[in-house]
């Protein structure tokens, strides 16, 4: 299977090159998109919606925008339904769901999701494969699963990692009060940075780096420290002796999905039950109502990863599905330099109740989470580390800020009179550094990730039927045999779906006016002379049920014994592959 997949890749690459040269000739090498969207910046939620609206206005026959509900703070959640409406309704085509930004601070997934729509739309006329994707597939694109968290990341003071949560008030410190002790922008500079305090030598846990006093180094062995690290900017707002322990929200919406959901004491941030937040409930309702979704991508940041489940060691994935995942994952590593294809629970950490765990384990959909942006991309290479990971990372990050951005990404330490700690210093990296790509590198990041989605969607099952073979068995008895062929990598039903009876099986239905169907079923062998190997349908032999669907790059042979005459049709229906039909005639 893997071999043939590579072959297809080469073939498609050739097609791509051809169409590009045609395009360049027509346009004289100049490319002017119909909708100009600067891809060197990040957008607030409202701006993302505006960009969607602009695309809809420019391409009304390809873009519909559907309201799926509101966030906790009342921001509209809108799915862009992307498909060529002329070639069929969105719900009748196999689909890919793409979202981003379930963690409010992981903003770039929003831009990547919209970029996918933009690129395909802008290339529809000139790129055969873009055309094929928009004609034969649907994309459901939700740029932000967490609009409140996203906007707070832009509009409020934050660290590199804060505003990950939604904003439903939560009592994290179990004192009966909600969100009463958040971080505080003490110096009013719009950033939440780190607090440090100089103390007498020997009383500190850290010392300043000899070469760069901006860097704090933890003391080791006999060394003596003269600095204490006091955590992120803030005070003890509620007088309980703890700082910043009950901030805005305080949960993780990517732990709020049904598969392997576990309560808060086992999984931080899980919520009271799956879909307990308005945002996850909105998304869940939409996805459950669209059984045509056959592929899922949910963008996060960062680390440069193409992640698949399981999220925890509670379930094993069927080998056939793993082969499909591996083929996609390996291609992803090629498309995305410095990214690694990894398994969440094995290579990262345990996640109970994660989104892509639900979409695959619960719904049988091949699902990835890409973690956008890898630190090697700052330099275009792996750099050697000096010292521990943290120190080394800080040194290289400062180099990037100092050299490539003229110091833009870092706030120098400055003194502040803290109400509880007295004289302290505040400083550190701004949120624009670390987890999101710098502005001049955004477009490459989102292009590669968006086009990985395009490749994922291209490999959704593509089932066709060969012309039926009719054998005259004499005396008005016929055998009709149809070859079902899947030319794509993904099966029309994942083994996970088949094994757990998720969704509706595929059906192949034989119909004809003058037809009496005696037996129908799939042939377990390709040997047409061994009819005893027919896995016959007990009920209604005209309808052959394919619980396992049609395998990726595979075939299924369906056969009937019939009496009758005249024309007949064979129809194939599937939830996650395009329906098709063929016809034949008896006794012709």
């Amino acid at each position: 299977m893997h071999y043939s997949f590579k072959k297809i890749l080469l073939a498609t690459a050739a097609v791509c090159a051809t169409s590009f040269s045609l395009f360049a000739q027509e346009e004289g090498g100049r490319w002017e998109p119909k909708v100009e969207i600067p891809w060197n910046r990040y957008y607030t939620h409202g701006e993302l919606l505006d960009n969607m609206k602009r695309l809809q206005k420019a391409y009304p026959k390809f873009v519909k925008i559907v309201d799926i509900g509101e966030s906790y703070e009342g921001r509209p959640m809108r799915v862009m339904v992307l498909t060529n409406q002329k070639t069929g309704k969105d719900i009748d085509k196999p689909a890919m769901w793409v979202d981003g930004n379930v963690h409010g601070n992981e903003v770039q997934g929003g831009e990547a999701a919209i970029y996918l729509a933009w690129w395909l739309l802008e290339h529809y006329d000139t790129n055969e494969r873009a055309q094929n994707l928009l004609d034969s597939r649907t994309f459901y694109i939700l740029p932000s699963q967490n609009p409140d968290g996203r906007d707070h990341w832009f509009n409020s003071a934050n660290t590199q990692s804060s505003s990950r949560t939604g904003t439903t008030p939560t009592d994290n410190d179990r004192d009966g009060l909600f969100d009463e002790d958040d971080m505080d922008d003490l110096d009013g500079d719009g950033e939440i940075l780190t607090m440090r305090k100089k103390v007498a030598l020997g009383q500190g846990t850290h010392r300043l780096d000899q070469d760069d006093p901006r860097i704090l180094v933890p003391v080791q062995g006999e060394q003596q420290g003269d600095y204490l690290v006091l955590g992120q900017e803030g005070i003890d707002n509620d007088g309980d002796g703890r700082v910043n322990e009950d901030g805005k929200g305080g949960y993780d919406m990517n732990r709020n999905w049904p598969s392997d959901w576990q309560p808060n004491h086992l999984q931080y941030g899980a919520g009271d039950f799956p879909f307990s937040y308005p945002e996850t409930a909105n998304v869940g309702r939409f996805i459950l109502a669209h059984p045509n979704i056959a592929a899922v991508q949910s963008f996060h940041n960062s680390g440069g990863m193409l992640l698949r489940g399981p999220g925890a060691d509670y379930v094993s994935y069927p080998p056939a599905d793993i082969r499909t995942y591996d083929a996609l994952g390996e291609e992803g590593e090629l498309i995305l330099p410095f990214y690694n294809y990894l398994i969440i629970y094995k290579d990262l950490y345990n996640v109970h109740g994660g989104f892509v765990n639900w979409t695959y384990e619960g719904l049988g959909i091949f699902s990835f989470t890409n973690e956008l942006w890898a630190s090697q991309q700052y330099w275009g290479k792996d750099r050697e580390r000096t010292g521990g990971w943290f120190t080394s990372n800080t040194i290289q990050s400062l180099e990037f800020s100092d050299s490539v951005n003229l110091g833009e990404l870092y706030v120098d330490w400055h003194s502040f009179d803290h109400p509880e700690h007295g004289e302290i210093e505040i400083g550190g990296f701004k949120r624009q550094h670390g987890r999101v790509a710098p502005s001049f590198m955004i477009e490459e990041m989102i292009h590669r990730n968006a086009l990985f989605c395009a490749r994922h969607a291209e490999e959704i099952a593509d089932v066709s039927m060969e012309a039926p073979v009719v054998e005259d068995l004499g005396n008005g008895l016929y055998r009709i045999t149809v070859d079902m062929v899947n030319s794509a990598l993904m099966p029309s039903r994942s083994a996970m779906a088949a094994q757990n009876e998720i969704g509706t099986p595929d059906h192949v239905v034989l119909q004809g006016k003058n037809l009496q169907v005696l037996v129908g079923g799939t042939l377990s062998s390709r040997d047409r002379f061994r009819p005893e190997r027919l896995n016959s349908m007990l009920r209604n032999p005209a309808t052959v049920q394919l619980e396992g669907g049609v395998p990726g790059h595979g075939r299924i042979l369906v056969s009937w014994l019939v009496r009758g005459s005249g024309k007949f049709t064979v129809e194939y229906t599937a939830q996650k592959a395009e329906n098709s039909a063929t016809e034949g005639e008896l006794g012709s």
Binding site: S259, Q262, P274, E501, R539
Partner: protein, 566 residues
């Protein structure tokens, strides 16, 4: 149909008016001669219960009824509430709340009957409970299923499903083939099948014991045909998700009856949201088919995501309450814990004290051998007789000829000659209505008896000592739980869903805490005197207003100390 109903009602009333012996008296009389009403006769419908609730709430002080949701078929889900004392502010009244949930399965008619009877009693004569606690009673937790059961159907609810994955919904369920008005059982002959007729009691079916070289001769299935022609009988019957499989603890992702996701059903979701909106619910009594009061579990020292047994500290409480509810060695046999049930969610994820009662089981000792005759032979059933035989002995005595349909030959359209007969529905799980008064009294008395057992915090051993002549004071105070129940269960301490006790020392203007914190929390105090000593040193200038030491809880009361400056 209307005529039949009327006749049944008359029967019911007659049965209630005639003095009937209690179960124990009947046993003593050996062969009761009274004809008892066979359930569901004598049981009220969800619609009748709804009317009673609304009428009672209109009349009774302190009682209200709220519609917490609506079933798939549009029936209201009604919660009756008897308001307890109001303490403190709205967010932390400290008033404990208890929740009674009846008949989640739908076919546990006695549970609903006992619950509505308790509501009737509380609304008429009150309950001491409301001096301490707020009481919520959900009399009919699964109205659709209960209505179906009372209409002679199975306890199904929810949207039609395609259990056999043939594209058709609910097309092949059990049916009344022989037209006797009941969907009963079929013995389908099968050489080497799993079941055989008990050689000692031909009506009774039991599993063949391979170790004794027994060979079975039939399989026992519900009465029904192969309605969709797929060579399977009853494989796609009405209904979908089972409420008692739809809650988040041990939810089974791929079980057809568990739902598309946890709390996917309007009934389970309404109940769960009610619980989440009432964090002061510290004790739940579930009246259904499971029973941890009749056979309290020993408890484990650890729990995990697959646990069904409580933690040891909490199990101790179950033993105390179990004995109080049933006395010693009750002959009540609860069902196995179903994955995804309500009670386990309430305990393992919400941390409440969860009591379960199935209320009643048919006695197994009815026909048991008691004496030896002259030849030394035992009369009656031997002790090792099968449970089914023992139940038959009870049913023959209690409902002569009514509870068990004799096996009769029937020509089945696809299975050939079969026997149809067996147990009438409900008989083995539903008490004769004659017993309902006693069951209600016992349950309501039990709940009343909890009045003084709720956790209850007070300040004791309070000492304020001046450390100098001017303004520095030392305060020592001990917070004590005087109730039997802990302020938080061991499970609550594990899952951290309940809130700890919060202690605040408020000093007036000019005051300053020198040692100690203004805000503290105490995770939990054990029952019967669990305590925590606290200590502060503070400065309070002469002439200041008094300081306040406040202990706030969600469901263990509120304790406030006023500390004068001198």
């Amino acid at each position: 149909m209307i005529l039949v109903t009327t006749v049944l009602l008359v029967c019911t009333m007659a049965a209630q008016e005639t003095p009937v012996p209690t179960e124990q008296e009947s046993v003593a009389a050996e062969r009761p001669t009274i004809l008892h009403a066979l359930p569901p006769i004598g049981y009220r419908t969800p619609e009748e219960i709804e009317k009673i609730l609304i009428r009672r709430a209109r009349k009774a002080d302190g009682m209200s009824v709220s519609e917490i949701g609506e079933t798939v078929e549009g029936r209201p889900i009604l919660m009756a509430t008897f308001q307890g004392p109001q303490l403190g502010d709205r967010t932390a009244t400290g008033t404990p709340e208890i929740l009674v949930v009846a008949n989640l399965e739908g076919d546990r008619l006695a549970a609903s009957e006992v619950a509505i009877s308790m509501v009737e009693r509380y609304s008429a004569v009150g309950t001491p409970l409301t001096e301490r606690a707020t009481v919520h009673v959900l009399c009919v937790a699964n109205p659709d299923a209960m209505a179906h059961v009372l209409a002679g159907d199975a306890a199904w609810r929810g949207k039609a499903t395609d259990n056999d994955r043939d594209g058709l919904l609910d097309e092949d369920g059990p049916s009344d083939l022989n037209g006797d008005g009941h969907i009963s059982w079929m013995r389908v002959p099968e050489t080497g099948g799993p079941m055989l007729a008990d050689p000692e009691e031909a009506r009774s079916s039991r599993e063949a014991d391979a170790e004794k070289s027994e060979a079975g001769s039939f399989r026992l299935i519900r009465e029904g045909a192969d309605a969709d022609g797929d060579r399977l009988e009853n494989e796609d019957s009405t209904g979908g998700v089972v409420l008692e499989a739809n809650f988040p603890h041990r939810w089974e992702q791929y079980a057809a009856t568990a739902g598309a996701f946890q709390l996917s059903e309007p009934e389970s979701r309404a109940l769960a949201l009610f619980v989440l909106e009432h964090p002061a619910i510290c004790l739940v009594l579930v009246l259904d088919d499971e029973d941890n009061l009749a056979s309290p579990p020993k408890g484990k020292d650890k729990v995990d995501t697959s646990s069904t047994d409580p933690l040891e500290d909490d199990a101790r409480l179950l033993k105390i309450f179990g004995e109080r509810f049933y006395g010693e060695d009750p002959d009540v046999r609860g069902a196995e814990h179903q994955s995804g049930n309500f009670a386990d969610w309430m305990y393992f994820q919400r941390g409440a004290i969860v009591l379960e009662s199935s209320l009643w089981s048919p006695p197994l000792d009815m026909g048991e051998a008691k004496e030896k005759d002259e030849d030394g032979e035992e009369q009656g059933l031997p002790k090792d007789a099968s449970e089914d035989r023992k139940l038959l002995a009870w049913a023959d005595a209690w409902y002569p000829g009514d509870a068990f349909l004799p096996w009769e030959m029937f020509s089945h359209p696809t299975l050939g000659e079969v026997e149809i007969g067996g147990w009438m529905p409900l008989v083995r799980t539903t008490p004769p209505p004659d017993l309902l008064t006693d069951l209600t009294t016992n349950t309501a008395d039990f709940l009343d008896s909890l009045t003084n057992d709720f956790s209850h915090i007070v300040w004791e051993d309070v000492e304020v000592r001046a450390l100098d002549a001017a303004e520095v004071f030392e305060l020592r105070a001990t917070l004590v739980n005087q109730g039997l129940m802990p302020t938080m269960t061991a499970m609550g301490k594990t899952n951290r869903s309940p809130l700890p006790l919060r202690i605040t020392l408020n000093l007036p203007e000019g005051g300053e805490i020198l040692v100690g914190r203004s805000h503290l929390s105490v995770e939990s105090l054990d029952g019967l005197g669990g305590h925590e000593e606290m200590h502060w040193i503070y400065r309070l200038p002469a002439g200041s207003k008094p300081a306040h030491l406040t202990a706030t809880s969600t469901s263990s009361g509120q304790a406030i100390l006023v500390l004068e400056a001198n």
